[in-house]
């Protein structure tokens, strides 16, 4: 082991990295672009839900209810069907995502202080929108009932076709801002994406050009080479995490109630896993294009089965066992719970245990395959 040689390898790697015009934007801009993309386009609050309104009562009280929904900013009246069959049509035809039905005699019952029924029908085909819409409707109705009924004795009931418990979300994410759980998730996702890709690209490039072969004819040892290769990408990953964290908390105003230590250890373990994946990808690929493809191929199940895009709760039961094989699944629980609820090592020990096992297994496998490949 020679520190001078390791240092030279690191210097060389950074010089190459900084000289590659496509690299700098990739390192700094990619996290921001993804943050904006996921944060705004996919992750932000569901807004302007297309709503069909069927007001069978047609009284000032029922108008107040309609206004309560439309003035919230979450619901936009796009259709006013005249009967229940019409409501059904707007939902089937995807004209509306939500329908609100105010029954006849609503105002009378309110005046007499009796319980009333208000139907909110949510199109469940988009699980995410559905659960968010349900949450909004719940809080709007609760707000309305306190205004409509001066006494707390009687309240209108809300019926909804799906029976998901909205209180969980409301408890930990009272504003229901999806971005609050999206930003922490992106910390882990971007870490995996860029560590794995940058690392495999750089190794494959070195092999493609024959410099790898040249390096191993010099006194550079395998361990020196690997350290010289890994450290720069660890540094890059740390920079990217800091970018996402800063933009997430300052720009997207995501409250951080966790601890840096818990987050750091979790992401550190996950980074080791990602570096191992990078090595494996580089071994599977002859060209940089292939490495890109292989990386994307690995990324898809991670995105789909980890709870990053689709909540695990809405996953088909047959897929659930598969999700346990995805390292991203565990780190997502760690970063999200730590960010939102401040959960620590004690509460998250099963996830940390899984992360330790994955990092040892995947990094170890990558390392041993890499060593073997070099010997052939």
């Amino acid at each position: 082991m020679s520190l001078r040689r390791i240092w030279l390898l690191i210097w060389k790697e950074f010089t190459q990295l900084l000289r590659d015009r496509s690299m700098i934007p990739l390192i700094f801009l990619l996290p921001v672009i993804q943050l904006v993309m996921f944060g705004y386009v996919i992750g932000t609050d569901v807004k302007d839900l297309r709503t069909a309104i069927l007001d069978l009562d047609g009284t000032p009280a029922s108008h107040r209810v309609v206004e309560g929904f439309t003035s919230s900013g979450y619901f936009v009246a796009v259709a006013r069907p005249v009967d229940e069959a019409g409501v059904r049509k707007t939902l089937d035809g995807n004209t509306a995502q939500v329908a609100i039905i105010i029954p006849k005699g609503f105002a009378d019952k309110v005046r007499r202080g009796q319980a009333t029924k208000l139907s909110v029908i949510v199109d469940g085909s988009d699980a995410k929108t559905a659960s968010v819409a349900q949450g909004y409707a719940g809080s709007i109705v609760a707000n309305l009932s306190s205004k409509l009924y001066p006494s707390p004795a009687a309240k209108p009931g809300v019926t909804t076709p799906v029976g998901v418990d909205a209180r969980v979300r409301v408890l930990f994410n009272p504003t229901m801002r999806a971005v609050n759980t999206m930003v922490p998730a992106l910390l882990a996702f971007i870490l995996m994406l860029s560590t794995q890709n940058l690392m495999s690209q750089s190794i494959v490039k070195e092999r493609e050009r024959g410099t790898l072969e040249q390096l191993f004819v010099t006194p550079i040892g395998r361990a020196e080479y690997l350290i010289g290769k890994l450290l720069p990408y660890v540094a890059v990953a740390i920079i990217q995490i800091l970018v996402v964290f800063t933009v997430g908390t300052l720009w997207f105003k995501v409250p951080f109630s966790g601890s840096v230590a818990v987050l750091g250890v979790g992401l550190g373990l996950f980074m080791i896993t990602a570096l191992g994946q990078g090595m494996l990808v580089s071994l599977m690929s002859r060209t940089r294009y292939q490495a890109q493809q292989a990386g994307t191929f690995l990324m898809v199940p991670s995105m789909m089965l980890s709870g990053f895009v689709f909540p695990l709760s809405s996953m088909p039961a047959v897929l659930i066992p598969l999700t346990y094989l995805i390292p991203l699944r565990y780190i997502l629980v760690i970063v999200r719970s730590n960010f939102v609820k401040g959960s620590g090592f004690v509460a998250l020990w099963p996830q940390f245990l899984a992360m330790i096992i994955f990092s040892i297994a995947i990094f170890g496998l990558g390392l041993s395959r890499f060593q073997k490949k070099l010997n052939d």
């Binding site: 190459q16 000289r19 050009r209 790898l212 072969e213 004819v217 006194p219």
Partner: protein
Amino acid sequence: MRMPWNPQQPESCVPDSLVHSDDAIVVSGMRKSFGDFAAVDGIDFTVKKGEIFGFLGPNGSGKTTTIRMLCGVIEPTGGGARVMGYDICSQAELVRANIGYMSQKFSLFQDLTVDENLKFYAGIYGLSAAKFAERRGYILEMADLRGREKELTGNLSVGWKQRLALGCATIHEPRLIFLDEPTSGVDPTARRHFWELLNELAAGGVTLFVTTHYMDEATHCNRLAFIYRGRIIAAGTPHEIKDELARDTILQVEVADGEGALAALEGEPGIKEAYMQGAMLHVNVGERSAAEADLPSRLGSAGFRVLGTDRVEPTLEDAFVHLVGKQGGRA
């Protein structure tokens, strides 16, 4: 308790008795298999210090694999070798510190400048600052790169890249240099220039181990070995190898449709070997002068227009075709 340090001589696959002090490389029964496939199938040869040793063979014959073993990059699956006195298995690091290697692709860092490449390799080989300054000056001079130190290596044309690669591979002044097809893809002028540099190095007593496809380059070598399908099928001085054909007659035939004529001659009586060499048809008629005399008329009557026939001295390429033919294969 501390383990007693045991200054044991590392075990070697090559017995000391085989290794003389003037040997740069001693290879003994060395093989390398990838799965069932023997890329190098038990080879033996010796390279003397100060020699230019040419290692010739067609594509996929095992040249690069042999070099990689000799450089201590991969371990042989059988046999072994001593390089500059060091065993390639147990002393790979010492081997690597004492040799230079220039690969088929002259692997410089294309996205580093000329100076950065030099600085990198100098550091890797542990050169002192003073030594680096001296070597840098020498290499820039030798590669004709003065004034272009800050240029990206990727922007240099092939001839310069190749000379810079040689400079980087020899920055630590090794006494033995491996060159794997160092002139592939380089124009003839640059090739000549490059061989002048190699001859200069050899004149300074450096041993050169060169693989090549170009037979004309083989004549620069003091000694040659032909490798074919992982086995050495001939070794000796260029002269000795050409002597293989001393009793045969080689005819160079200029004919309009060379490939057609070649097909027509295949397996004909009195024709030992026939093959294209450049635009010319080369025919080995063995010792039979009868075939020599009637070859033009035979081709003529088969409908080929023969423009001329010459009896030529066998070239290395002729020898090579002959040697491969004897092995029951085709070059």
